[in-house]
Amino acid sequence: MNHLDDDAELYVLGIIAPERAAEIEAHVASCETCRERVIAAEAAAAALAGALPPAPSEAATTERLRTTVGGSASRQRSWFAGAAAAAAVVLAATAAYEGSAAHAASSRLASTNTALLAMAASHFEHVSLTTPPGMVAKAIYARDGAWYYVVVSGAPPGGHVRVESGGTFRDVGALVPGTPATLFVRGVGRVAEIDITGPGDATVARGIPSY
């Protein structure tokens, strides 16, 4: 592939065909000239982003949900925090952090970046579960099925996580109540389906992981 030229800046601005993005990122990984150009463009674009107004506050959104939608308090905690917790659990569970290449490389960065950098180098997948209105559920899991982290906002009371493999269903544990409700389990292995069950063991949400 030739050098990116103006595409370096257009890529960073997000106004380039999405199918080109993977191609560009691959080129950037191997071409120092273009990498430097993209990094410079990202610095400028980040400055532009800094001049944007903040998103509506958590408190305002919670209030809006409560008054107009009647949303449950479980929506208060953002998916973002959920993902943070997930990544933290993942790192604690897999101990992939110490001694990894990412850890060594991160010593050159500011300390707040260290954790994110380690996360960036870990390998896991995620799937959004099909849910009824008012409920959002995602499962984050190791590619070998060694652990699963299920995050559910608007979870049913007494919700459990159930997995299916080879036609057999297995309850792997109760969701820990919270905002969002979560469950971290290990030693499950690869499964064909991940379900959330509610009262009476009825399936309320399901998702198909791919590994």
Binding site: I15, R35, A44, A45, L48, A55, P56, H123
Partner: protein
């Protein structure tokens, strides 16, 4: 949660507001914005390809989140969003007093002042007005190729101006 108060939680909180504002500006919907941030981060992590050589993490993530958000509003969804925010889009301008980071906003405003009016026009339409290349070409009655080269030159010039600004 046992991990609250740890470095992870701290790292997230340090970046969360910035990433959310980038996504929200594109999507005009808080839940959709959170999904875009979440999606972009998971994409980065699960790819496992980020290395320190790729450059500072936050600017990289900001660009990832913006692409994720723009991907989410393409097609009919994009048009719907655009219609509901037509008033805001008509005047692509950022109010520095309302900025998440007022100091950064002032710095950007000074740097934008270094650009030619033509460069400044396209970069504001593209970044703050959420215009596509074709839309900018139509609005300004110039070829798409010209929009592309002008935008790229504008961002390079902006980077130069910001670097000079921070050096002095």
């Amino acid at each position: 949660m046992a991990f609250e108060g740890t470095g992870f939680e701290h790292a997230y909180r340090a970046h969360a507001a910035r990433l959310r504002s980038v996504a929200y500006h594109v999507l005009h919907d808080r839940d959709a914005a959170e999904d875009a941030v979440h999606g972009a981060l998971l994409r980065v992590w699960s790819a496992g390809t980020y290395r320190a050589e790729r450059g500072p993490l936050l600017p990289f993530l900001i660009a990832c989140v913006r692409r994720e958000a723009l991907d989410a509003v393409r097609g009919t969804a994009r048009r719907r969003v655009r219609e509901t925010s037509a008033a805001a889009a008509a005047e692509p301008f950022v109010d520095p007093t309302a900025a998440l980071d007022p100091v950064e906003a002032q710095r950007v405003r000074r740097a934008l002042g270094v650009l030619s009016p033509e460069q400044r026009n396209v970069i504001e339409r593209a970044y703050y007005g959420e215009r596509t290349l074709a839309e900018i070409a139509q609005e300004l009655a110039i070829p798409i190729g010209t929009v592309k080269s002008r935008l790229a030159a504008a961002l390079r010039r902006l980077h130069g101006a910001l670097s000079e600004g921070s050096a002095s």
